[in-house]
Symmetry: C2
Subunit: 437 residues, 2 copies
């Protein structure tokens, strides 16, 4: 993408309305633009990050055996009247009427709808277990939307729903999602800690929130520092190995971690003092086991192996996908701007031409750009070097290739690694090799 | 995907409510499920097709130089009051109020919003031309939704918006999109004919619809058969070559093609009789040039090279992405079911194990499945061969690999090509080579 042709606007001024750093940087770096209170358009750079985050979430759901569907945003009120949540949900539910005066709503979550869909096809134990997920825009009409996409009204959520014949099966599904979540966040370079949590309006008796530590978090959390050293990526732990997954779950849940609401001062004392961590956290995921709550109310039942009727056991599993983009910035930034981890960066590389019009600079920049047509932003604007440095730092590309007349004359490129600030002058070939590694 | 673990339900009965073949087959093959009148959930097979169609649309927009964003579904009524379309739009617009009693709506299209966003950043001629697109769910509250996703209420649309400094520039943008559209549809194996059309509520004075010929089409169309032999894929025609693109446009528009509303009987007579084609068509795309209609009403202006204020010239360009899935089926099916073109098939291959439990069948099927982990559906169900043949034909996988005990004993696989019905018995290695080609 050449900046002279791109729609990658940056703002010099810090927008007054933005109270937290991710919101400020998302506006300044041109990732999002507010179109109504708590509702945002994603501009090209932001949209690319959101797509990369979405794709990681998708791949890890698929690996765990969940299958992707897409449910619509608009639901009929009747579904929610059946579960009894239509009245419960309160003013956060965006209610509306269609032209025939039917009560509809913009879905804030999909337990009712997925149960109703699954009911339309599942007849026997052979149709279970299944885990279905979708990645769709939701709407929650927050009374005071704030913090940008961290607490917006229209937001992108991945929500998965598991159907099992037994409680043991449902617990296995729950453990699969716990592992998938830890792997998902780790791939993005985030340390997320699962914490026992209240089940709230979803219901049920087993629930974990996944919390990213950040100063701007809304909730206070307590956890054992052992979490910080864990690596969940080891794929020798397979999703179909029931005892191994139980072992994993027992190990995770044996380490202390709790939100303020669930905090147990006595249990906390048994964590060695040096390992006690207390801080602010951002919730990026939440998993629930709620048994037959929705299958029973929505009339889902199947024939068991012995012919008796069984009401399936369910769970639901959410990740706040658009919120994750903000959480990633909260965890990766400095005074100058965003520092995107490689896994989610909108473009891997910014090529800064310090003197457009200089034949040597232009030629070397074009040569480098040709090597990364889809992964590089080429700053070919007639702007001062300082403007280019600032914009590249602000937008947070993992690599900057800085090419000025002196270097170009000698065929040399300066590479800057945004995450660490390291700089190195290299021959063109070595720079290419470094960037391709 | 193993069918014993998949959520790929098929229906034996033809649903009574479905009047056209694509709607019937989408329900029977388990691609979609209606959740409210004119509102559908996409089940795994349908969702995969929709993603593949979306990706082709995206790639061709990117190649043409358009840049992807994502605008929200919920818009403020105030935007539409400014353009004057809030009242004009009538009952097809889904209107609603949020908890603070503000008038909002579910976007049916985005001319107002994109102009307002662009206005927030563009200040000078250097910021133009730009073409911004998004692929987002829209809502049009049809009084009588029907024909499945062909005329649903919540539907997926790609809409692009171009901003140019001059009318000539805007016409070039228009031609870029015309070429991109012809290439997009051709990649899906569809012959789409651009036809002069009425501009309708979008406004403006230049507009083309892209029509796929199909018996179930709603509109009568007239066109020169020369269109059928054209190949638009030749990439030597570049998007930045203004005279070449004008030549392409002049050539396309010199051939007769018109919808019933725009049909000109006199001009029709000048088409050689043998080349006159008349039929029913399905609209899958629509492009508009409307000049300053929205830039003027929404207050978008920039400084020209000489410092004077310029109100940009605009166009908008839509593709009905979810409708395309139905149109693809209308164009590719037989009595037994869907015949997916390779470019959009949900999975490339179905592996039919005719005798699960037979060691030879199981081993050969597993070996083949291991070669295509993400591209094959493995029918490992304990079902009769006839059920498997019917389901594979219905779901329309481009290839079927049929493995029975006799073949397996000799290491042989029968391959069936769904599009042509051709069958061939091959050694495992040859089958693998054929499928990998």
């Amino acid at each position: 993408m050449r900046l002279t042709r791109a729609f990658l606007p940056t703002l010099k001024e810090t927008p007054a309305e933005a109270q937290i750093v991710s919101h400020r940087l998302m506006l300044r770096a041109g990732l999002i633009r507010q179109t109504s209170a708590g509702i945002y358009a994603w501009l090209p750079a932001g949209w690319r990050v959101l797509q990369r985050v979405t794709q990681i979430v998708r791949e890890e759901q698929d690996r765990a055996g969940a299958q992707e569907v897409l449910m619509p945003t608009i639901q009929s009120a009747e579904l929610w009247q059946r579960s009894g949540r239509y009245e419960d949900y309160g003013k956060e539910m965006l209610r509306l009427k269609d032209r025939h005066d039917r009560d509809m709503l913009f879905g804030p979550t999909n337990e009712e709808m997925i149960t109703d869909i699954f009911r339309g096809y599942a007849t026997s134990y052979r149709d279970l277990p299944r885990n279905l997920y979708h990645i769709q825009w939701k709407f929650r009409d927050e009374v005071r939307p704030r913090f940008g996409v961290m607490r917006g009204r229209e937001f992108l959520m991945k929500d998965a729903y598991s159907f099992d014949m037994t409680m043991e099966g449902a617990q296995h599904s729950y453990r699969q999602m716990m592992l998938a979540y830890l792997r998902t966040f780790q791939r993005m370079g985030l340390k997320a800690v699962p914490m026992r949590a209240d089940t709230g309006p979803i219901g049920g008796n087993l629930s974990h929130e996944f919390i990213i530590l950040a100063e701007t978090g809304e909730s206070t959390v307590f956890y054992d520092s052992e979490f910080e050293s864990r690596d969940w990526a080891d794929t020798s732990l397979g999703y179909d190995d029931v005892p191994a997954l139980q072992g994993f779950f027992d190990q995770v849940t044996s380490m202390y971690a709790a939100t303020e609401e669930m905090h147990d001062a006595t249990a906390w004392q048994s964590v060695p003092e040096a390992r006690r961590r207390e801080g602010k956290g951002i919730e990026v995921g939440h998993i629930f086991y709620f048994g037959q709550k929705y299958s029973a109310t929505m009339g889902l039942s199947v024939a068991g192996p012995d012919g008796t009727t069984v009401v399936p056991e369910m769970g639901s599993y959410g990740i706040g996908v658009s919120r994750l983009v903000a959480a990633l910035i909260e965890a990766n930034h400095d005074e100058a701007g965003i520092k995107w981890p490689d896994a989610v960066a909108p473009w891997k590389l910014a090529i800064l031409n310090l003197k457009p019009g200089d034949a040597g600079c232009d030629a070397l920049c074009e040569k480098l750009y040709a090597a990364f047509p889809d992964q590089a932003v080429y700053d070919d604007r007639a702007e001062r070097a300082g403007v280019k440095f600032n914009d590249a730092d602000l937008m947070g590309f993992p690599w900057q290739a800085i090419i000025g007349p002196r270097g170009a004359a000698n065929g040399r490129v300066e590479l800057k690694r945004r995450m660490t600030g390291e700089r190195e002058e290299l021959s063109f070939e070595d720079a290419l090799a470094r960037l391709s590694a």
